[in-house]
Symmetry: C2
Subunit: 219 residues, 2 copies
Amino acid sequence: MEETGKYKKGRQAPEPTLKRLPGYLYYLEQVREDGILNISAPTIGKDLSCDPTQVVKDLAFTGVKGKPRVGYNVYELIHSLEEYMGHNQVNEAFLIGAGNLGSALMAYQQEQALGLRIIAAFDIDKKKIGENIGGVHILEYSKLFSLSGRLNVKIAILTTPNQAAQEVAEDLINCGIKAIWNFTSVNLNLPEGIIVQNTSIGSYAAVLLRRLNDAGNNL
Amino acid sequence: MEETGKYKKGRQAPEPTLKRLPGYLYYLEQVREDGILNISAPTIGKDLSCDPTQVVKDLAFTGVKGKPRVGYNVYELIHSLEEYMGHNQVNEAFLIGAGNLGSALMAYQQEQALGLRIIAAFDIDKKKIGENIGGVHILEYSKLFSLSGRLNVKIAILTTPNQAAQEVAEDLINCGIKAIWNFTSVNLNLPEGIIVQNTSIGSYAAVLLRRLNDAGNNL
DNA sequence: CTTTAATAAAGAATTTATTCTTTATTTGTT
DNA sequence: AACAAATAAAGAATAAATTCTTTATTAAAG
Ligand SMILES: NC(=O)c1ccc[n+]([C@@H]2O[C@H](COP(=O)([O-])OP(=O)(O)OC[C@H]3O[C@@H](n4cnc5c(N)ncnc54)[C@H](O)[C@@H]3O)[C@@H](O)[C@H]2O)c1
Ligand SMILES: NC(=O)c1ccc[n+]([C@@H]2O[C@H](COP(=O)([O-])OP(=O)(O)OC[C@H]3O[C@@H](n4cnc5c(N)ncnc54)[C@H](O)[C@@H]3O)[C@@H](O)[C@H]2O)c1
């Protein structure tokens, strides 16, 4: 029978779900290391302090199937999550601005599966050129233009100081970059169609502070 | 007239709103630097690429009042946001694990108003003890216990490696810490009432990758 | 072989957040 | 002084996300 609109399958996971998936993945890798073969949504929910039906619904978006009385196969689940998040394809990225945060991210990508691979970093600081952090070489910024011509990199991680962000972002677009993971506070002004993923850790601080104040008022 | 339930004032901003507030604050500080005295929600919306009525609703939670045909007074608005987010009170924090990310955060707090002040960092690595990063002294981890007895610090930023996270978190609770800003991937298991703010940058990567894939399919 | 308990999956209801609409206020203009 | 335009604010409608409920499937126990 033909699929009607109402019952169309394979709807895209909503953003809140998508943001939870990396958390499941890390957790499941730990579970796998413990030699556990099957795991149920109620168990996941308990360990991650979240609603078990939400776990079921979240995981269902990846297409994985669980079995009643058994749960999910841990390997299948990990594979399904990685597949869904696009970790199996190669997602190469440049990093611009190898300072405090940039260096941290280069170190981080080694241990943690972010789903993308930083293949080169660029900086204008002569002292940093030539360094290797987390397996990533730091190159002179001007090399960005020639290198991007040869490689087909679509993603850039922007960790320059705020005042350089807009200008660097424009350069990146000229180099064929389609998506910018923006860690600066600047609201980049770029052509239609360019993906800008703003990333504000200040948001988390705001939530933390309120929760703390709320708790304090109940004492 | 007495306030009925339906019209109760001062309802707490929902979390999505709260997470947007730091973005407004940074933007408005730039606006202020440009010498602009008043700003309207439509202008903010255009600059930040978001819905102007959402801007109005978000800002209303801080208690600020705007004027038709004029907009908001930039100074008032900044003050109101800072007040609402608790930036005026002293929010002292310890940082545990002065590695790549910890160092980046120490450098960051100087320039950016996160609403909290890191007053000391702790590490077990002898090479790091004594260093000063972003105005923060790095102390021997064991000093945490004596120091927390004298000071009344409620917040800790956890940036140790994953495998140390649970143990360190337990130490922190014993030192009187009430809220942990957790940057590790570990799902901490702590007593009721302790606030744990998990912070996953992997979530942003997941969203970025999907947006890029979605865009790619439309070519 | 039947029954029972656990659980995934699907669907409904509720809650929450965003967007749209209307109203009222304020300033500048004629 | 009356009028027009811009805009904040309040309210209504829509959309989205979460939580609750029911159903059906499976494996284990009797
Ligand atoms: N440090 C953090 O924890 C943190 C957290 C969130 C966001 N941020 C933001 O990330 C950005 C970087 O922060 P940071 O602490 O790493 O700063 P940083 O000064 O340590 O690093 C910036 C790097 O960019 C390089 N750079 C400057 N101009 C450049 C240009 N035109 N082209 C290429 N490289 C250039 C500098 O040489 C430096 O190495 C800032 O916008 C900051 O607000 C930082
Ligand atoms: N680097 C990043 O960009 C990034 C981003 C997000 C999350 N994280 C997470 O943040 C954590 C830290 O990452 P990092 O890259 O800074 O690692 P890192 O190894 O550079 O830093 C960890 C620091 O903690 C110290 N440490 C180890 N055990 C300790 C203990 N018991 N008590 C006190 N200090 C101790 C180490 O000496 C080191 O200085 C990890 O869990 C990582 O997954 C990192």
